[in-house]
């Protein structure tokens, strides 16, 4: 336990929230390379699955897959009323969130790392050395990136996906944390990656992180 506390005084964590197609994941990866610390995005799912004995796809469901198809398809109930409680299967998702947050907390207390998404900023809110960032980008840039990353065929499909994913991420974050997704007061730094480009944004954040944690 003492060792852990010492760790937490020298270690630091950077939590990144991001819009779909903002380059947030890439920025996080580059930043981790430059600072020579660990990077966790989807890797968290693998760890959570290992820890709990559950399959990885179980964890992907709440934030990646549509939770509306089943109910919507069968009963034609798209309204929030019947959908909300049942299709999200709250109690079950609550357990999945608990398992993931245990993993995040363990890693965050063990070493310096960068987390992308999954409410890591809320989960690690008691961490003495944590920086919380949010990355957005201009819509055009996001659409372009999403088309390449997801191998989509049209702009419309990309815009559609962006809308849906942002909504889902906001829903997940606002539900599980006590803060608001994408709102300036929820983070220490919000930055539009279109302004400086990916590399430039990484440079900027690197300086910010180094100054805060007094790294050279």
């Amino acid at each position: 336990m003492r060792k852990l506390e010492e760790n937490m005084n020298t270690n630091f964590v950077v939590n990144i929230g991001r819009q779909l197609g903002s380059g947030g994941r890439q920025i996080g990866q580059l930043l981790a390379e430059r600072l020579a610390i660990s990077f966790y995005d989807k890797e968290l799912i693998t760890l959570a699955a290992k820890q709990s004995g559950l399959q990885e796809e179980v964890f992907e469901r709440p934030d990646e897959k549509s939770r509306y198809t089943l109910t919507g398809g069968l009963l034609g109930l798209k309204g929030p009323a019947l959908d909300m409680g049942f299709s999200r299967n709250y109690l079950w998702n609550e357990l999945l969130f608990k398992i993931q947050s245990d993993v995040i907390r363990e890693l965050g207390h063990e070493k310096s790392c960068i987390f992308v998404g999954r409410c890591a900023d809320y989960i690690l809110r008691e961490h003495p050395r944590a920086l919380n960032l949010f990355i957005n980008a201009d819509l055009d840039d996001r659409v372009k990136r999403v088309i390449t990353n997801y191998k989509l065929t049209s702009k419309e499909k990309a815009t559609d996906l962006i809308e849906r994913m942002d909504k889902r991420r906001a829903g997940y974050y606002n539900y599980y944390s006590n803060k608001k997704w994408g709102a300036a007061e929820s983070y220490h730094l919000c930055i539009n990656s279109s302004v400086l480009g990916i590399e430039g944004t990484v440079d900027f954040i690197e300086g910010f992180v180094k100054q805060k944690f007094q790294l050279q």
Binding site: Q55, L70, A81, L82, N89, Y90, W92, E94, N178
Partner: protein
Amino acid sequence: MKFTSNPTELGQEKVGKLLLRYALPSIIAMTASSIYHITDSIFIGHGVGALALSGLAITFPLMNLAAAFGSLVGAGAATLLSIRLGQKDYDSANTILGNALTLNVLIGLSFSVLSFIFLDPILYFFGASGVTLPYARDFMEIILLGNVITHIYFGLNAMLRSSGRPEKSMFATVATMVINLILNPLFIFGFQWGIKGSAWATVISQTVMLVWQLKFFSNKSGFIYLQKKTLKLQKKIVTDALSIGMSPFLMNAVSCLIVIVINQGLLRTGGDLAVGAYGIVNRIAYLFVMVVLGLNQGMQPIAGYNFGARLYKRVNEVLKITTILATGVTTFGFLFANLFPEAFASMFTNDKELIDLSVNGLRIVFLSYPIIGFQMVTANFFQSIGMVGKAIFMSLSRQLLFLLPCLLIFPRIWGIDGVWYSMPASDLISSIVAAILLVQHFRQFKHKEQEEENVTKEYREQIELQPNAKEG
């Protein structure tokens, strides 16, 4: 779905043992509340009279509706609370507790005021006649006076459960039952308060346990306790809680609607006493239904976890064991209702006509009970493994989609028996639908089961590789 320790035990421990451990607390709580209602009816039936039982039956839908509004706040707030407690976020948890209390007071009060103003028209609509209305009104007036207390009591009990003190919540449930059991005969036979006495017994027993709950929640050494500053409503908490509570609310509202249609149908075809007979049949049927619901709650985490871990053999095992137990319970009900219906009915009343009506109702309503356990477990099974659409469809099919048309058509052809037969008919159709959906499900999963052996091996290795995962 609570996991007290490492969730991996759900993938390793013997299925039967797990089911017993997870289901037993739910079964006890569910049975206690069912016995509560049964004893109420028994005292009213013997102490006040046969027509008073009809008056009581007319209040069921209104009581259901009150409970629906309670679950609108309670279910949502309890879920939010356990998320925050899981993150050791005690500040947010306390705010949720305070907000839930305020919401309960607001909704409870509004419900009372509105129901009070329109009490007579509401009761007439719910199946009252000039003869039974006074009983229903006498009972309801007192219940509505205490409605805010009822709301807070149930709300705080849900909070107790989700704050990791299920034993406290169970104690409160059982204690209310016992106090009610003592006060009911005292007020009805001792003080001759009639049906009002039973209502007072309910309100007082809940008040006593509410005081006990408040004492528990004002202990500042606990993790969460009531604070003045948390009472102010926060928009985010209110909308989150209400949107989670919406589906349990709607399910309860549906059951309220159905009871109204049943009451109206019985009043039209069989008169006031037929409504009272439904009161008796309903109380007894619920006792068995509640045990199955308790089993279902125990099955959920076990089926859910093993499905997520792809341990399909264990998923099938828990489904099989739960179905067998549930069918056993409901078949037991079927046998009793058909072998000794007079014994059941005369528990509640001495009135010959009411006994005859109830015996007829019991015989018919319980006809489908040997198969209904299967239907209920299957619906819950689909919910456990995340196929929620199917689960909602199946719950609604038995309680609304097939039942409502039957209730509207059958009585016109067969009179009072038509009302009774609607219930087993709807049970039968929805059980057939359940069987079809289940067979379909297993066909789809057959090929996946062949992967099972590899996955089981993989799973064992995973678990063994990280024996100290929970430490550190």
